[in-house]
């Protein structure tokens, strides 16, 4: 099944941090064809195991991509049936005004986010952003019906259809980090054609956007020799500095910095060079905002890597990526995995 179809399904489906389970069936249906075992843990992570060729002395590599998305949550119901809400994860309030939403109450309810119109504002208000507390969601129902179907704490997602742009580029919501989930799928497909010694744990994590809780507990359970987070990186646009960004269509960003094991990172770069897979360097001196942060400090410490898929307009509902970067990310991961053996691992991890 194609990466593009899979990403479209994932982007159009909904799963705010803590409410990811509605995605399980879709994700498992794609991965299970190539998997040796599929399991769900208590926090809701999906783990897909692909065993290595030597079952005796297996080393374990954990790959993590998170399935949760940022979203909103119902805080109150007004007397005219309008909803008040707060955010789950990092949301720029300016990006949600005038959006269509789905309120996941007793049933899925369509709504729109509105605010005070210009004629009721003071003259200088037009240059100020509208605060989230001054916005409302209109679900078109009077209070009694609204109260019947919606309760405080219900999650809300932006309603956005995945769109194909020019040049293999696509736009949608929650590409952070469902693009990473698809990169893991690409890696799994590639590995099914390759010999590899290590047991590979593909972990589709929960709650990265709020606490990385899923990655912490999965890493603890699996206790891998290497943990690799596949997430998204800031795609270059004119208003952002070159130093802060990676370019779309030029391969995954390989992160370097304190969160990353230097020996493994050098190996990753040499594999990319050897197999002619495009990549870019991405610098992050401290803990990254990815599952690798959680993996690195789990138990007595786990060597970690991060691959970043370049993505524009992060944490909006119109995130843009280039499909070629997903493919290159998946391939690089697979070839890297193929190169790791019990024999060379100790050397790679040596300081």
């Amino acid at each position: 099944m194609s990466n593009l179809d899979f990403l479209e399904v994932l982007s159009n489906h909904n799963g705010v941090s803590g409410f990811e389970y509605t995605l399980n069936e879709k994700i498992i249906s794609y991965f299970e064809e190539y998997a040796d075992e599929v399991s769900l843990d208590r926090l809701g992570n999906i783990t897909i195991l692909k065993k290595g060729k030597s079952s005796e002395s297996s080393i374990r590599i954990m790959l993590a991509a998170h399935m949760d998305e940022i979203g909103l949550m119902v805080k109150d119901i007004e007397e005219n049936g309008f909803l008040r809400f707060t955010s789950v994860g990092g949301i720029d309030p300016r990006t949600i005004l005038g959006q269509e939403v789905l309120v996941h109450g007793k049933e899925k309810l369509f709504g729109v986010i509105g605010a005070k119109p210009p004629h009721l504002q003071e003259p200088d208000e037009g240059d100020k952003a509208i605060k989230m507390k001054d916005m409302t969601i209109d679900i078109g129902l009077p209070y009694p019906q609204a109260k019947e179907l919606v309760k405080v704490g219900d999650p809300i997602t932006i309603k956005r259809s995945f769109t194909r742009l020019k040049n293999n580029r696509v736009s949608g919501k929650a590409l952070d980090d469902r693009a990473g989930v698809v990169a893991l799928y690409e890696c799994l497909k590639e590995l099914s054609k390759l010999d590899h010694e290590a047991d590979i744990y593909f972990v589709i994590t929960v709650q990265e956007e709020v606490s990385m809780a899923g990655a912490f507990t999965a890493a603890y359970r699996i206790n891998p020799d290497i943990g690799i987070a596949v997430d998204v990186g800031f795609g270059a646009t004119p208003e952002l500095g070159d130093a802060d960004t990676i370019e779309l269509g030029k391969g995954p960003g390989i992160t370097l910095g304190g969160n990353i094991h230097p020996g493994l990172r050098k190996k990753l770069v040499s594999v990319a060079d050897e197999y002619n897979i495009p990549y870019q360097m991405e610098i992050n001196v401290g803990p990254t905002g990815t599952d690798a942060r959680a993996i690195q400090i789990t138990k007595e410490g786990i060597p970690a890597l991060v691959l970043s898929i370049p993505l524009r307009y992060m944490h909006t509902s119109v995130e843009v990526i280039d499909m070629s970067d997903i493919k290159d990310t998946g391939k690089l991961l697979a070839f890297f995995i193929k190169e790791i053996s019990k024999e060379n691992l100790e050397g790679l991890l040596c300081y």
Partner: protein
């Protein structure tokens, strides 16, 4: 459904062709005469019983949107507004560019790279651009030209208790009601005029009114609603579900109060709910119509719309039906000609 077809069509001010063609195909079989004037207005006449007054009903066809201003070296598209748009509603929205409806998105800087106080300031239109996936200026120029019209990409959705969400409800809702009047009003003679370029300065209405030379005009509109509990009722311009909004005064017209009283009487006589439009903000084609030639009388009857001039305008189907009923009742009241003005 007609309102779905009309709202999903693109018809920015000066580029109303797609909407005009839909309207013509809908009304042509019902009209006695129909012409497109030099500006692109549709001027139709439906003959009924002879009438001593010339009666006109209008609705503007155009909608607000954007236009391509420049393509930068990255292949990103800069734009300017066509009509009044609150810049704050543009961020993180999909759009369709030009006749080929090239898909694009208006992105924004990631929250992670913003300074703390950036959130509190609105992004200006100059900060925004559209991404169609092009890799360079030359690449983008294969799909997009300077001057192309850009429409919001927004589907017609029915939701909640009898509500509709769509773009361009201002004023496809007026167009739809006027089409329904042409199809359903049998024995009153009237001119049905669908105007162009209302949103950029009431451009089409003046020449159309000059041509028709009406005595009385009903302007059908979508107008702003903002009905939130903590607001004092005098600040609420219109309530959704409160029935057709009858205009008192706006920036372009102080409405003739005798005609307004008559419209209210007709609503009450026919048990049609109504409300007054309680704001003087905004204006509409009435401004040009009532001052055309030696002057005439106008009334504006509107369907209240939340989030007007945005991709997610919301209206009530009950208001739509009651606005149609009221406009129809007013037309029938004019059947015998009209005395008293």
């Amino acid at each position: 459904m007609l309102l779905k077809t009309l709202t999903e069509a693109s018809g920015l001010s000066g580029n109303e062709k797609e909407v005009r063609d839909i309207i013509i195909s809908e009304i042509e079989p019902y009209c006695t005469s129909l012409k497109i004037d030099r500006l692109g207005n549709i001027i139709a006449f439906k003959e009924g019983k002879a009438n001593s007054k010339r009666i006109m009903v209008t609705a503007h066809m155009d909608e607000v949107g954007l236009m391509v201003k420049e393509i930068d070296s990255h292949g990103l598209i800069k734009f300017l507004p066509v009509g009044g748009i609150d810049k704050r509603i543009l961020v993180s929205k999909p759009v369709l560019i030009g006749e080929k409806k090239i898909a694009g998105v208006i992105g924004a800087k990631p929250i992670h790279l913003q300074k703390r106080n950036e959130w509190s300031n609105a992004l200006s239109m100059d900060d925004l651009y559209i991404d169609i996936g092009a890799k360079s200026k030359e690449d983008a120029e294969k799909y997009v030209n300077i001057g192309d019209y850009i429409a919001f990409d927004s589907e017609y959705v029915e939701f909640g208790q009898g509500l509709v969400k769509a773009k361009a409800l201002d004023n496809r809702v007026g167009c739809a009601i006027l089409i329904d009047l042409i199809k359903n009003v049998e024995d009153v003679s009237f001119y049905a005029v669908f105007t162009v370029m209302e949103e950029v300065g009431l451009v089409g209405a003046g020449p159309a009114a000059y041509e028709v030379d009406p005595d009385l005009t009903i302007v059908l509109e979508g107008t702003l609603a903002y009905d939130i509990p903590e607001l004092d009722s005098h600040l609420v311009p219109t309530y959704l579900g409160g029935g057709p909004a009858i205009s008192l005064a706006d920036r372009t017209t102080v409405y003739n109060h005798k005609l307004r009283d008559r419209v209210v009487e007709i609503a009450e006589k026919n048990n049609i709910p109504y409300q007054f439009r309680k704001t003087s903000m905004g204006g509409n084609d009435s401004g040009k119509i009532h001052t055309s030639r030696d002057g005439s009388l106008t009334t504006t009857i509107s369907v209240p719309c939340r989030n007007i001039h945005s991709p997610v305008s919301v209206m009530s189907m009950d208001d739509y039906k009651n606005t149609f009923k009221l406009a129809k009742a007013v037309l029938y009241d004019f059947k015998e000609g009209y005395n008293g003005f």
